[in-house]
């Protein structure tokens, strides 16, 4: 028995009574979790539940207010990130930390703490080859990492941690930039390595299907406290969700009303081309039509031209050719056109793209109406009374939680900023709604409510173009799903016939 213990490389991790206060705010309250050596452990919780704080305490980025960490049953002093690294703890982030212009091999070697001022590349290459021979998977090490696909980059990130001799990996939503296939492959590898006893994995995730399929055990945090743990085999997603949100009630979504078959499209995009943000590639949208009372979802991995397409629709990027029509007439996204044809646009991360962060809630809610009177006529003098009463009505209708209407909007939580933005854009007559990643970074109850609002708008006859990186969201809301890859729409399917695997393959460019 002793023999086996010593052979095992994977670390056991235990936190005992971890608390972390930021001033008056208690981000973490007496959290004790136990991660068995060689296990694949998932850490679940809503935004702000304290997952990141806990992980940062473990990694030595934060000094916990109280509590202890045991590694292999021995209390460890993890005061700094360097100490944590030396003890074999490594972290893989949602976004990549590789230097894109360097090759995989170069990235690996320079990440070592003990690398000297002069690198003997022949010797390093020999050692790398020996290391790679022990690894269960391969990544091309001689190409600049910028040219690798997202899945390979994420594998290289993991490889880097193993190369650095880490025995416990913490992964922060590692699959959020991967296709479903890539995600499966990366998580499968990690699971295989934990099975062999080389590695312990603690993964922060939002995705139940990943947790159920790959994790052995799960621990759940809610509002900074530990609420429970268990073997994933014994828990259903519904039970896990219940642990995460407690007794909060979620908004219920309307049933899908049927689309009028013969309706003219509210939005018609034809033959649009434009250079992408690098100017090297071309965005080319041959045909997109959205009918009233229909949600058309656009799937795709970030960076495949969705951003540019949205900029074109918002009038912020010039087209080289093509046309955009709203209700049959050319549309250039001016303020007047948007107002007359009832077109609304909600970009992703509304605090950064749709609000003036330091202006007040009332002022931000007025962005669409401040220059007109109740009849929609242009005005020179600002009507403060109208602004305030408008804001109060919107805040009540959409249940925006704010200390006061005079608070700067950046003091609101992400969910409330999104509610405020939806309130502004969904009030009044809306014929066409263009919305991007509306639920990014929001908690369960906010997500349920915002999706319900979008569905309600659809049922009221609004044509919705939904661009999202979240496939679950697209499946839940869309009537049709289009897939964007390499700046083009490469696939289209009605929701009834939609299949994750096919969509995933098209997202990855295999078509």
């Amino acid at each position: 028995m002793m023999q086996i213990q010593q052979l095992q490389r994977a670390l056991a991790l235990e936190t005992i009574g971890m608390s972390k206060n930021f001033g008056a705010l208690q981000a973490l309250a007496d959290v004790s979790i136990k991660v068995a050596p060689g296990s694949f452990h998932a850490l679940l919780g809503e935004n702000g539940a304290g997952k990141s704080t806990l992980v940062k305490c473990i990694m030595g980025f934060y000094v916990p207010t109280s509590g202890a960490i045991l590694l292999d049953g021995i209390e460890a002093d993890l005061g700094t990130p360097a100490r944590a690294a030396a003890l074999g703890l490594g972290m893989v982030y949602q976004h990549f930390t590789l230097v894109p212009s360097l090759t995989g091999a170069e990235n690996l070697v320079i990440s070592r703490a003990d690398v000297g001022a002069i690198i003997d590349w022949r010797e390093e290459t020999r050692r790398l080859d020996a290391f790679m021979a022990t690894m269960p998977f391969e990544v091309p090490l001689n190409v600049p990492t910028g040219q690798l696909a997202a899945g390979q980059k994420q594998k290289l990130e993991i490889l880097k941690q193993l190369y650095l001799g880490r025995r416990l990996l913490i992964l922060d939503e590692p699959t959020s930039v991967l296709t479903p296939d890539e995600a499966r492959s990366v998580l499968g590898l990690l699971r295989q390595m934990t099975r062999m006893g080389d590695l312990t994995v603690l993964m922060i995730s939002h995705k139940f299907h990943e947790v159920t399929a790959f994790a052995d055990e799960v621990s759940v945090l809610r509002k900074g406290s530990f609420v429970g743990s268990g073997r994933t085999a014994a828990l259903t997603p519904a039970q896990m969700a219940a642990m995460m949100i407690g007794d909060a009630r979620l908004a219920v979504m309307d049933h899908r009303a049927s689309v009028a078959a013969g309706a003219e499209p509210a939005l018609l995009v034809q033959g649009v081309t434009a250079p992408d943000k690098t100017g090297l590639k071309t965005i080319s949208i041959a045909h997109v039509a959205v009918k009233p009372g229909e949600i058309v979802g656009i799937a795709g991995i970030a960076g495949n031209g969705q951003k540019e397409f949205l900029e074109i629709l918002a009038g912020q990027r010039e087209m080289s050719s093509g046309s955009i029509c709203v209700h049959g007439a050319a549309y250039h996204a001016t303020r007047l056109e948007a107002r007359q044809r009832h077109v609304r646009f909600i970009p992703e991360e509304p605090l950064h793209n749709a609000c003036a962060p330091k202006m007040t809630v009332a002022e931000n809610l007025a962005l669409r109406i401040f220059d007109t009177n109740a009849k929609g006529e242009k005005r020179v003098w600002l009507n403060q009374t109208r602004l305030t009463s408008h804001a109060r009505r919107l805040v009540e209708d959409f249940n925006v939680k704010t200390t006061s209407l005079a608070s700067p909007i950046n003091t609101l939580s992400g969910g409330n900023v999104q509610r405020a933005t939806l309130a502004r854009e969904l009030t009044g007559e809306v014929d066409l709604l263009i919305v991007a990643n509306p639920c990014f970074g929001l908690d369960f109850s906010a997500v349920a409510e915002i999706r319900a609002r979008i569905m309600a708008a659809r049922n009221a006859g609004t044509a919705v173009l939904l661009v999202s990186e979240d496939l679950d969201e697209l499946f839940e809301l869309s009537d049709r799903i289009l897939v964007m890859s390499g700046g083009e729409i490469v696939f289209e399917t009605p929701i009834a016939a939609a299949d994750v695997a096919t969509i995933g393959a098209h997202m990855a460019g295999h078509h």
């Binding site: 303020r335 970009p347 220059d371």
Partner: protein
């Protein structure tokens, strides 16, 4: 916000913010804008006092001298107000674009060219009625300054040129242009030691406000500040400009005319500085000469930042810095301190004011949005 009915959105009576009276919350938000710059001012003066101690001078005597030179007598008060008058306008040249998110520090160039244009226009109009000449001079000053800074706005919007650097470098060009012209084509041969344009003529000078030695330019400056405040806070144009300054992406997505706003507000800003130049020529100098470039444009930057780009706050701040400016010569005579001491003081104040910017929203009793988080 004064409605006392229960607030369905937060479940609290609407007259309260986080359990405290709404009036208190409102008061706290206003107080923040006074307490933080006030504190920065005191901190700056404290640092400057240390500087004086190191020089072996008494800070007390220094501040006394500033008081005497700037406020102590009717004469020094007039002097301070005269110095404050151009600062009101050059501060607007910084404050208005700042609300649009543009940091423009080249007001000096617009002032100088505004003065030069005004003096040049006055010459061919000799003999015309007073009001016509004065209006023509004002129009010339406004146009020259407005186009000069408007050019900076155009470079920014159409070509993405950094407006701070562009305006500063264009100020040097503007000053060089003036020097070139007053030493060349526009020079009055009678101005021997100090190259100047021909005088605009005693008949066309701006008079003093009755009972004082202060010219009417002070009133113009104060009116400009009041109008600017109304423009920014009470009109839809000002609102649109504040949105564009707060987040240009949000403004563009809402279809606000960001380009037009930038052009219009940089023009108005430059026009203010140009008007300051015209007033300096018509009320103080009597012609355009190198004394126009005496730093009002740069002190205006300090005034605008001290006033947190608020046109109303510019009025008292400009007066305070006018008083400091005015006491410069007294300091030299009484304390044996060089003229530049005042600039050291201004520099220190500028640094502390910029530093104080980091405190906004972080001082709990001044920020109602933090009150609710008191209870853990």
């Amino acid at each position: 916000m004064t409605n006392a009915s229960p607030d369905t959105l937060t479940g609290m009576p609407r007259v309260e913010v986080a359990g405290r009276p709404e009036a208190l919350a409102k008061w706290a938000r206003h107080a923040e804008a006074l307490v933080i710059p006030g504190g920065a001012l005191l901190a700056g003066l404290a640092v400057f006092s240390v500087f004086l101690q190191v020089l072996g001078k008494s800070p007390l005597a220094f501040f006394q001298a500033i008081y005497l030179g700037g406020l102590g007598s009717a004469f020094s008060l007039d002097n301070a107000l005269t110095h404050a008058s151009p600062l009101l306008l050059t501060a607007l040249c910084v404050a208005l674009p700042a609300r649009l998110g543009l940091v423009i520090i080249g007001g000096e160039g617009a002032l100088v060219l505004g003065g030069l244009a005004a003096a040049s226009v006055a010459l061919p109009l000799q003999g015309q009625p007073y009001l016509i000449v004065l209006c023509a001079m004002a129009a010339a000053g406004v146009l020259a300054g407005g186009l000069w800074i408007g050019m900076v706005g155009a470079l920014r919007y159409y070509r993405g040129v950094n407006e701070t650097i562009a305006s500063l470098l264009m100020a040097y060009i503007g000053i060089a242009l003036m020097n070139q012209l007053i030493e060349g084509p526009l020079r009055d041969p009678a101005s021997l030691n100090k190259p100047s344009t021909y005088p605009i003529g005693q008949a066309y000078r701006i008079a003093s406000i009755p009972g004082t030695q202060v010219h009417w330019g002070l009133v113009v400056g104060i009116l400009a500040c009041l109008c600017s405040w109304v423009l920014m806070e009470r009109t839809t144009w000002g609102f649109a400009a504040r949105v564009a300054g707060g987040n240009v992406r949000a403004a563009q997505i809402q279809g606000l005319p960001v380009g037009k706003l930038i052009m219009a507000f940089t023009f108005i800003a430059g026009a203010c500085a140009g008007l300051a130049g015209m007033i300096e020529v018509a009320a103080v100098q009597g012609n355009a000469n190198a004394s126009l470039a005496s730093g009002y444009g740069y002190t205006g930057i300090l005034v605008a930042f001290l006033a947190r780009q608020n046109p109303l706050a510019i009025i008292p701040v400009a007066f305070m810095l006018g008083a400091i400016d005015a006491s410069g010569s007294l300091l030299q005579r009484h304390m044996g301190l060089p003229d530049a001491t005042v600039e050291v003081l201004q520099g220190i104040l500028f640094i502390t004011i910029l530093f104080s910017d980091t405190f906004y929203g972080r001082i709990k009793w001044l920020n109602p949005d933090l009150w609710a988080r008191a209870q853990p």
